[in-house]
C-alpha cells in the first residue's frame, strides 16, 4: 500500500471539504473567517477548552477504533452508539450498586463489566450475521434503538438520581470515580478530560500493532478481504467475525469509561452527541488506520467542540452544523479517493 496516495488524497479531500463547509456558513450570514477563528479558540484558547476538546477526541477515538476494527474484518459496525450506551449503562450500574474500598479494584471491576457488556452488544450482530446471515447494518442500527430504550428504562427507573429532575442516574460511588487519582485531570482540572485519553491512545497503538504486525491480525484482514481466500487457508471466518464484533463493542464501550468513570461521574440520557456515528466518519477519514484515527478523532473532536461554541457565539448556526461539516468532509474525502479510479474507468470506456 503506497504511503503517498494514502495520505495525500484524503488530505486534499479534507482541505476541499473544509473550504466548502466554511463557504456554506456564508449562507447563514456569517463570515467564514470569524467561524474559523471561533473554531481555533474553542480548542486551544484555554486549558479548559483544550481539556474539553481532548474529552471529545477521546470518545471519538474509541468509536473510531470500534468501526475500524470491524471494517478490517469486512463488517460495518453502525452500532457503536448502542454498544457505548450499554457499556456505559453497565458501568453505571456496577458503580452504584457494588461498594468497594479500593479504587483499583473498583476501576478494574467497572471496566471489566462495562467493556464486556459493550462487547456483548457488539457480539450480538456478529452472531446473527454469521449464524443467520442477517445484514449487520440493519441489525446494529436496530440494536442502537433497543439500547436507548433499555437505557431510558433503567435511568428513569432503578438508577435514577433522586436529587434531580433530569433524566440522569445518581452519582457513582466515590471509589469508582477516577478523579481522585487521575493524572490527566490534575493537569486539566476544570475540564472533563481524564485518564481514558491514555487508554484510548494505548488502544490505538495495540490495534495498530495487532492488525498490521501479527499473524492473527493479518488473518483477520484476509477474512475481511475475501471469505473464499480465508476458507482456502483453513481460517474460521465466522468465529473470527464474531470475536471481532465483540472487540468492536469493547472498544466502543471505552466511551463509557471516558464519560462515566473518568469525566462526569453519572449517566445522563443522551450524553453522546452521536459519538457512534461520528466514529464511522473518524474511521473512514483515517482510511481505517488505527494511528490515523488518533488524528481524525482530534479533527472531529475539534469540530464538536467548535460547533458547540458556534451555537453560543452566533445566531444562526447550531451545534448540528458540525454534522453538516462532517458529512461534507466524508464526501470530500470519498470524492478525492475515488476520482482517479473513476477517471481510469472513463478512459477505458472511451477506448471501446
Amino acid at each position: 500500500m503506497k504511503i503517498n496516495s494514502n495520505f495525500l488524497r484524503p488530505l486534499i479531500g479534507l482541505s476541499l471539504g473544509l473550504a466548502l463547509s466554511l463557504a456554506l456558513t456564508t449562507l447563514a450570514g456569517e463570515s467564514p473567517l470569524h467561524i474559523a477563528h471561533i473554531f481555533w479558540v474553542s480548542c486551544f484558547g484555554t486549558a479548559y477548552d483544550f481539556g474539553q476538546f481532548l474529552f471529545a477526541a477521546t470518545a471519538l477515538t474509541f468509536t473510531g477504533l470500534s468501526v475500524c476494527v470491524a471494517f478490517h474484518a469486512g463488517l460495518f459496525n453502525i452500532g457503536a452508539e448502542g454498544q457505548l450506551t450499554i457499556g456505559a449503562l453497565a458501568m453505571t450500574w456496577v458503580a452504584l450498586r457494588w461498594p468497594l474500598e479500593s479504587s483499583w479494584l473498583a476501576a478494574g471491576l467497572a471496566l471489566t463489566v462495562g467493556l464486556s457488556a459493550g462487547g456483548f452488544w457488539g457480539w450480538l450482530p456478529g452472531f446473527l450475521k454469521t449464524r443467520f446471515g442477517s445484514h449487520e447494518v440493519i441489525v446494529t442500527m436496530m440494536l442502537n434503538f433497543v439500547a436507548i430504550g433499555i437505557a431510558n428504562f433503567v435511568i428513569v427507573g432503578p438508577l435514577h438520581n433522586p436529587e434531580s429532575q433530569n433524566p440522569e442516574s445518581a452519582e457513582i460511588l466515590p471509589r469508582y470515580f477516577w478523579r481522585s487519582w487521575d493524572p490527566i485531570h490534575a493537569l486539566l482540572p476544570d475540564s472533563l478530560a481524564n485518564f481514558a485519553t491514555i487508554l484510548a491512545v494505548l488502544a490505538a497503538l495495540t490495534t495498530w500493532i495487532w492488525l498490521f504486525h501479527t499473524a492473527q491480525g493479518f488473518q483477520l484482514r484476509v477474512i475481511g478481504s475475501s471469505t473464499e481466500v480465508a476458507t482456502n487457508l483453513g481460517l474460521n471466518s465466522n468465529r473470527q467475525k464474531r470475536w471481532t464484533f465483540f472487540a468492536a463493542g469493547v472498544l466502543a464501550a471505552g466511551v463509557g469509561a471516558n464519560e462515566i468513570l473518568g469525566g462526569v461521574g453519572k449517566f445522563r440520557m443522551g450524553f453522546s452527541p452521536d459519538y457512534g456515528f461520528l466514529g464511522i466518519a473518524v474511521a473512514l477519514l483515517a482510511r481505517n488506520h488505527p494511528l490515523g484515527i488518533l488524528l481524525t478523532a482530534c479533527l472531529f473532536g475539534a469540530l464538536q467542540k467548535g460547533a458547540a461554541d458556534l451555537d453560543v457565539e452566533t445566531n444562526t448556526i447550531t451545534r448540528d452544523f458540525a454534522r453538516v461539516l462532517e458529512a461534507i468532509l466524508i464526501l470530500s474525502v470519498v470524492a478525492a479517493q475515488y476520482w482517479p479510479i473513476a477517471k481510469k474507468f472513463r478512459r477505458q470506456e472511451k477506448r471501446k
Binding site: 484476509v222 475475501s226 473464499e228 481466500v229 482456502n232 487457508l233 477506448r351 471501446k352
Partner: protein
Amino acid sequence: MTFSIAKGTIHALIGENGAGKSTLMKILFGLYQPDSGTLQVEGRDYHPQSPRDARAVGIGMVQQHFVLAGPLSALDHVALEDQSRWTFWQPIPRSQLRQQLEDLSLRYHMPVHWDAKISDLSVGLHQRIEILKILRHPEIQTIILDEPTAVLAPQEILAFFQQLKALKAAGKTIVLITHKLKEVLSLADNFTVLRQGRCVHTGSLLGRSEADLAELMIGKQLPHLPPRQNSDPRESGPALLHFQNFSRTDQGRHVLRDIQFSVRKGEIVGLAGIEGNGQSEILRAILNPPQASPEISGELGLNAKRRGSLPEDRILQGLLLDWSPAENFLLGNQTDQRCHRKGRLSFLLDWTQIRHWTQQVLLKYAVTPNSLKTALRNFSGGNQQKFVVGRELFRSPDLLLAAHPSRGVDIGAIAQIHAELIGLRNSGVGIFLVSSELDELLQLSDRLLVIQGGRLTAEFARDQFNKPDIEMQIGLAMAGGGPA
C-alpha cells in the same frame, strides 16, 4: 494482423492465453474498437460500433463467460433482447415468445426448459441457450464461439460437435476460439494462429498435427517433462491423506458418498470429472476438516505436517488482487517462523524478511513484473499461478493439493508448472491433482480417479493409460457408467 475466414467453414482461432483471440473477436463483434485497419464482411467494409451493428451484418457471438443471470429464466433473457420492441406499459408477450422458442428448439434438436431458472440448469444447457439465442435471428450467418467446450463433459462435447457440423451443413460460418488442439483437428477446416497479438500463421488444417499446432502457438518446441522416478508409493509409510467411506450431506442431499482413496508420499493422484460433481467438496473437506456432525460420516485422515494448495480459482481463492506481492506471499505462510521476528518478539511479523522471501520467489519462478510494489491484479494469469506455486512451495509441503493448475495459464508456464510437479513427486511429495484437462491428468498422474455425482466411479492405474479407448472409459465414468 491480416487473415480471412471462408464462408461456410469452421475456422479455428488458436493461441495461448493473452494472445489476443478473444480481443480480436470482440472487435469483430463490436465490443471493442480497433486502432487501425479494416474489417470486411462479404467484401463490404464493416465498422461495428456495438453488438447491434454486428448482428445487423449477420455476426453473432457466444462469449466464454455467459451473461446469464441466476434467478431469471431463459425466457426472461430472450425477452430482454427484444425489449426495444415494446413500450413501457405493454405487458411482455411471454406465451408468444415461448412458442417461438419451443419451435426453434425443435428445429435444431436442442431442447431447453425456457421457464426454468438459469441457476437450476447445467452449464451445458446454458451454452445451448446462448447458441439458440443467436440462432433465433435467421440473418445470423456467422457464429463466433469462445472456448465452447471448456465447461462440457466428453459426451456433451461429442453432441456439441454434431450440432456444429449440422450448423455448418445449414450454411453457417463458425469461428471457434479454442486452445484444445485435439478438437481443432477433428472439427475445423482452417485455422489461424495468434501469438502475442500477432497473426503467426493461417491456413488449412490438412496434414497438420497437434505438435505442429503447439509449436506454432508458442513459437518453439515444448520442453519435455523430467522423467518419472519409479518407486512404489506403498513402501513409503502411512498415507499423507486418506478418505475412508467418507460421506457428506448438505440439507439432506448427498454431496459426497463413500469416498475412499489415499495419497501417499511420492505419488500423484489425479481426480477427473465434470465440474460440480464433488471435487470442490473434497478439496474443501481437506482444507477445512469438518467437525463431527450428523452431515458427516466416515473418516478423513490428514497426516501431512505441512500442506500447500493451488486453489481451483486462484483469483477468487488464492490471491488478494489489490494487495502487494509481499502480503500475498504471506497467505498460508503467515505462521511460518521465518516470517516472524526472532526471540521474545516472535509474535510480531518481520516485514523485511517477508519481502526478502517474496523477492526470492519472484526470481526463482521468473515471475514478471519483478516488483514488490505492483498489486497482484496487474500480473498475467500465468505469472499469478507461478507466484502461487512459489508461495506454496516455500513451506516445503509434504502434501500438495493442485486444482486446475493450468487453467488460464499459457503453454510455456504450464510446462514449467508440470515439470515442477513431477520434480516434487520425485522428491517424495504427495500430490492430489484435480483437473478437467484429461491430457494433463494422463500426463501427470500415477493413479487416476473419476468422480461423478459425489461418488468415485472408476480408478485407473498408470499402466492402463496407453490403452486406446482409455479416454472413452474415463468419459463413461465421468457420466456415471463404467467400472466402479
